[in-house]
């Protein structure tokens, strides 16, 4: 386990999340992919904190955790709204400012 | 890991499993007496081997999987429920040296693992492809999310007072000062009661067992389960209560601290006593309605927990709390 392997793993997780973000149409699926990406970013912060030079990495990772939780709350609220107005949650249905 | 660490882990596992097996018998005996019955008497002296007989019976039964069930999840969920409930036990200190995982972040990890136990319960309900099971599962999720908040808040009270998230340090602090329910009593006692309530709700026990309310939901998440799978779900709930009692004793009742004798005995004694009280509650109280449950969590327990955290923080700044 070195910094390089941690970074490679994190890059792989990030790319997988990106793939999901690009291919999912279901809104909750997109949220899941974003979680994977945020998680990969967090892994980077913690790895850099562990391998010297960035002692505040853990604090930053905590902030990311808080941010993603807020993002999920808002995201799911929007999903509920989308479902209520369209009876479906495919994101390409959300193409109007006002319904 | 040193040899001592291995030995202590094995010892703790033995303690937990023994107490569990004995506790199953104790629960049925206690329940029987409370309802003017004798409880188990046939198998072994005063029915002591009844849990073993139950286990043999459950293992022999045919596991039935509903046709439209999600097979993988259906199989996986019950053992996972027991596993997660048992994982928490590894973090509880049974003596000054007898703590398998003596880590600095014991309190958050214990609460996290306890909350994790909910996921397999939900998996079981969803995989069953049965509307009663799914309803039970959704109730379990809503309940656990709501009661997790007061659980964290009340567990923060000992953390703030002892100035540590290490469970062993919290017990050591109580050893040096007082057990938390004794002093400061206006903080310790309400926090203890709130913690017990929230813990009962997380373990889905009466008066908070709406996920498996048998009068409305057949048997909730365990509706479709038979044989050993049902056994696992039953065992998990049971271990959850037992380990919850151990955690509550550690946080509020001084854990392994006692006036004389070996510390392990005190810990086991406190846990069993608390466990019996919880069973006493179980056989005396009635179930809350789903909406009453939510109202209790969000309108009473969460504000009370917040107030307690604030009070604890203020108390540490007063001359008596230093």
């Amino acid at each position: 386990m070195t910094l390089t392997t941690c970074l490679i793993l994190s890059a792989a997780l990030f790319s997988v999340g990106l793939y999901g973000l690009l291919t999912r149409r279901h809104a909750v699926g997109i949220l899941l992919s974003i979680e994977v990406m945020a998680n990969a970013a967090n892994l980077n912060f913690v790895a850099f904190a562990h391998y010297g030079g960035a002692s505040w990495g853990q604090a930053f990772a905590l902030f990311v955790l808080g941010l993603t939780v807020a993002e999920v709350a808002i995201g799911l609220a929007l999903v509920m709204l989308l479902f209520r107005s369209h009876k479906d949650v495919l994101v390409d249905l959300a193409n109007a400012f006002k319904h | 890991m040193t040899l001592f660490a291995w030995l202590s882990s094995i010892l703790v596992a033995v303690i937990v499993l023994t107490v569990t097996a004995f506790g199953l018998w104790w629960e049925r005996k206690l329940a029987g007496r409370m309802q003017s019955r004798l409880g188990p008497t046939i198998v072994g002296p005063i029915g002591l081997f009844q849990p073993i007989a139950d286990l043999l019976k459950l293992v022999q039964k045919e596991p039935i999987i509903p046709q439209r069930a999600d097979r993988a999840l259906f199989w996986l969920a019950p053992p996972l429920t027991t596993l997660f409930a048992l994982l928490v036990a590894a973090l509880v200190p049974f003596g000054p040296k007898l703590a398998p995982a003596n880590i600095d972040v014991g309190v958050p990890l214990i609460i996290a693992l306890g909350g994790l136990a909910l996921i397999p319960v939900w998996m079981a309900g969803w995989a069953s492809h049965n509307k009663y099971a799914l309803l039970g599962a959704m109730r379990a999720v809503a309940q656990s999310v709501s009661y997790g908040v007061p659980l964290v808040l009340t567990a923060l009270v000992p953390v703030i007072l002892a100035g540590s998230m290490n469970l062993n340090s919290i017990v050591a602090w109580q050893h040096r000062h007082h057990w938390l329910v004794v002093w400061p009593v206006f903080l310790g006692l309400p926090a203890f009661i709130l913690f017990i309530l929230a813990m009962l709700a997380e373990a889905n026990r009466i008066p908070f067992d709406i996920p498996e309310a048998e009068s409305e939901l057949v048997a909730g998440v365990s509706t479709e389960y038979t044989g050993m799978h049902f056994g696992f779900i039953y065992l998990a709930e049971y271990v959850h209560t037992l380990v919850g009692s151990a955690v509550a004793s550690t946080l509020f009742l001084g854990g392994w601290d006692g006036p004389f004798g070996p510390s392990v005995l005190w810990m086991v004694l406190k846990t069993c006593l608390l466990f019996s009280v919880l069973y006493w509650l179980r056989w005396s109280l009635v179930r809350l309605r789903a909406d009453q449950l939510m109202a209790l969590a969000w309108k009473w327990l969460v504000p009370a927990g917040l107030a307690l955290v604030l009070l604890a923080a203020v108390w540490t700044q007063t001359p008596w709390g230093r």
Partner: protein, 176 residues
């Protein structure tokens, strides 16, 4: 290069995290995707412990697996479409998505590979949870307070958005 227990654990846990993430984005059943996300996040928590951040691991389990995953489960089940019990997801541009993701990975991995000499760092012992807490309330106080303000705003926003009702639907029955 000798194989130590730490490396084996890292390899296993990392592989599981990666497999979990693949299934998270590829599962046709969204419920399975949520559970696989739980696997990925849990494995990352174990990696956090290995990287000297046990507190973060605990918070990760508590917040993500305990909170976010249950919220996601609600999100999936409450938005179930009629006549589609499987919650199948359609994937319109699988090849393009894979291509872009691979390209991004190639760039990232290439960059890491080019800088591998600069990344030869030795692990430093963690400064501990106490230090983390102190730094949150001293050095990072502004960010910390901003985050709490953001969480409050997100909470209020989520309630406002989710409570908006259709005009044709009857309003929620009053609590008796």
């Amino acid at each position: 290069m000798t194989f130590t227990a730490t490396m084996i654990v890292f390899a296993l846990v990392g592989a599981l995290a990666f497999v979990g993430s693949i299934f998270t984005v590829r599962s046709s059943k969204l419920v399975h995707a949520v559970l696989w996300l739980g696997v990925t996040l849990g494995m990352t928590a174990i990696l956090f412990v290995q990287l000297g951040a046990p507190f973060l691991a605990g918070i990760q389990l508590l917040l993500y697996v305990g909170g976010v995953m249950t919220l996601m489960i609600f999100g999936v089940l409450l938005t179930k479409r009629d006549g589609d019990s499987e919650l199948k997801t359609e994937e319109p541009s699988r090849e393009r998505g894979a291509l872009i993701a691979l390209a991004v990975f190639a760039v990232l991995a290439g960059t890491i590979w080019l800088g591998r000499d600069a990344l030869q760092r030795t692990a430093v012992p963690s400064l501990g949870t106490g230090w983390l807490g102190t730094s949150l309330l001293t050095r990072h106080l502004v960010a910390f307070e901003a985050l709490s303000a953001l969480l409050l705003a997100a909470m209020i926003g989520a309630i406002v958005i989710a409570r908006r009702r259709d005009p044709d639907q009857p309003s929620e029955p009053k609590e008796s």
